[in-house]
Amino acid sequence: MTLARALTRFAVAAAVLGAAPAADAHLVTTNLGPFYDGFAHFFTAPEVLLPVLALSLFAGLRGAAFGRAVLLWLPAAWLAGACGSLWLAPRSPPLAAAGVTLALGALVAADVALPRRWVAGFAGALGLFAGALAGADLSGASAPLALAAGAASALFVTTALVAGQVTSLRAPWTRIAVRVAGSWIAASGLLMLGWALR
């Protein structure tokens, strides 16, 4: 094989590989398109799902007004964070994700009484942070905006269902069960911290 022919073949191979779609190695494939891939991705990324669950549980424990505030701020901030990180592509900070999960889980377990504007602030900050994490995951994929929209929809549905259900709980033992779930989330956050420091 001449050098020219070898170089030509190398160039063709490089062009084919360069034009190939993104790997999407960490995304779930639903075969229903990128929107539903993003929807499913939300439920398979525990570092994103757990803090969202914790804040939804907490808002539900505090009452309907808190649930509405979180439902307004969390998905909006999440979408803003995800869209921002699609272009900035920041690195995922596992220590911060673990710390947020631990702190929010502990808030649920302790059922701390906080002013509504604080909870809304938490929702905005968590939304930006978790959205940035998810956006960084999605940034290399094909159709990242559709993926992000799907994941944001999953977050909205999850928050609405979880906060709404917890708000409707009246029996004392059911509220305790929610606090126990918060302790499980906090425990998972503590272990995530261990993994990040390992």
Partner: protein, 199 residues
Amino acid sequence: MKRVTSRAAAAFSLALAWPAVALAHSQAGGSVSFSSGFLHPISGLDHIVAMLAVGIWGAQLGAPGIWLLPVTFPLVMAFGGFLALVGVPLPGIEIGIAVSAIGLGLAVCLEAKPSLWIAALLVGVFAIFHGHAHGAELPPGANGIAYSIGFVIATGLLHATGISVGLVHRWLAGRVALRVAGAAIAVLGLGFLWRAVAS
């Protein structure tokens, strides 16, 4: 023929290198790690009886112990797992786990009703040994977060099972049965201790 084979090999190599094929890797490790983490606490009798005893003892103590102990245990257990993950050694783990079965079994058998903070402290100390064992025994290649969530949920469900069993405490026959169960757990703990010391 040789030329055709060479072209076929080149085409095959290119097809393999096409990144979309990587979709086959999507999240497969997560579910495996979750199930191995979930199965870890329920695959050892020493863990099972201690977790059940925590739930039963909480039910015997009544509110707020019925929920305080199951909230305390996973959190402190996670701290034990955290220590294992960051490399802090804990001597005598197997002995600690065996003593936890003896201590919790005796607490159930005697229907011990210490101050709540003493009960929480006792459960917390035992939880560190269980958590350290879980953290140190992670299978190689496992997804740590999924594994952790799995074993936290399994532990919590064992507590819930213990609490459910402990609800028979409202009847006299149930109270007797629980005390017998506590004695059985303590005897099993003695067996675990014997095995741990002998090995």
